[in-house]
Amino acid sequence: MALNQGTAWRLAIPLKVFFQRFAFLSLICLSIALLVLGKADLVLLERARTISTDALSPVLGTLSQPVNAFNKGIERVQELASLVEENERLRLENERLIKWQAASRALTKENEYYRQMLNALSDPLVLPITARVIGDSGGPFVRTLLLSAGRLDGVRNGQAAVGPNGVIGRVVQVGHQSARILLLTDLNSRIPVILENSRHKGILVGDNTNIPKLGYLPNNAKVAPGDRVVTSGDGGMLPAGWPIGVVSAVNDGQISVQAYADWTRLEYVSVLRYDLPGLTDKETNPGDLSESRLGN
């Protein structure tokens, strides 16, 4: 009996090792196959990603809660230290802004009047949906954010995402209750932009660094550091004229853009529901005008 068991073991162990090796190798192959299939933009894989991200998003939302609270606490303490200076600064800023407000009111009226005279079509209204950031990319290879709002809240693929200071990227993946934003610094991000003063159009190309590059400008375009870059609205998905950043450096034809967005402080992000009547249908972008008039 003991002998029998021994021979059985002697047979079983190499078999077990063989199957373990086999399983290991097949898992390696599966990983490589997934990489290749992912490169081929398989719809099924993206669907699987959307569904599983959606399922996991409540966990991430819950886990990010204490981190948020901790950060808020630290910020509060830092603010306490500079309360007086901050107050003084805000008072000055407020004075300046009140002047700007008057100027802006006059300009808006003037603009409206001119539009009326020219019978120009006005841009559709934009309705923002604001959601909490519950995840980032956690690594150097992709620059994305995970939001706690999805299809049920009206978020759709392709919509612009803006932070407190300016555009930060575009929605690339939407689940029922979560959405992924491709930041404009990501390697795969291309955003149609326009130089605010010279009105030259170009494409903002991300390269995984914090300073995306401005490309595809016309040859005769003159660019200097300090020029403001805003969305051009080309392609119809992003509303026109939203601030993105300023040209920070021009050397050897490479134009670097410093985004206005403060990448470390993105706590809440707004997704812009925007609708060009007749160009976008309700399914892809449900921000129809009657709804948009409610807010903003």
């Binding site: 898992l27 990489l35 894989l45 991200t53 966990v59 991430l60 519950i134 990319s137 150097p140 994305t144």
Partner: protein, 171 residues
């Protein structure tokens, strides 16, 4: 004598601790901490867990579990599917095959081994991603990430060792 049901459940729960801890680390690595630049160089915490448990309890973190953890990380971080699972399987293979070199040896030796693995791994990931995206991805953040991962190793290894001696003594 067959063990009682409650004993078996107890054993299963204790045995799955490495998996749950790894899963928690996956989630932690994508939570936004809002430290300047940190999201780009967030340490690959999963690699620490896979390395540690593959050395000390390889049967509690078999390749299929490593694969699943990698896929979960890829899913929620937005990285291409298969990237993290591939690299984590490599970590598993290295650690599980070098057990006699590290287990029962001074901690510094394990840390040194992890350092080599982490540096090689980030370089490999960088090469794979450059080919994948057909572009030259900046390597500096990749190296910083690798450095941070190495720095995080003692802390997590200490926690794992506490758990191992406290909850998983006989598993």
């Amino acid at each position: 004598m067959t063990p009682t049901l409650s004993y078996q459940i107890n054993q299963i729960l204790r045995g799955s601790i490495p998996f749950w801890m790894s899963l928690l680390l996956v989630f932690i690595s994508v939570i936004p901490f809002r430290l300047p630049g940190f999201d780009m160089v967030t340490p690959l915490l999963l690699s620490i867990s896979v390395f540690y448990w593959s050395l000390h309890r390889p049967y509690l973190l078999p390749p299929i579990v490593v694969f699943v953890l990698g896929v979960v990380q890829d899913t929620i971080s937005g990285a291409p599917f298969g990237l993290t699972s591939l690299t984590m399987l490599i970590v598993y293979a290295i650690a599980a095959s070098q057990r006699q070199v590290f287990v029962g040896k001074p901690f510094i030796q394990m840390w040194w081994g992890f350092m080599l693995v982490a540096i090689g791994l980030s370089f490999l990931t960088w090469v794979v991603m450059c080919f994948y995206s057909l572009a030259l991805i900046p390597i500096v953040p990749v190296m910083i990430q690798s450095g941070l991962t190495i720095l995080f190793f003692p802390l997590l290894a200490w926690i794992f060792a506490l758990v191992q001696s406290g909850l998983m003594k006989h598993i």
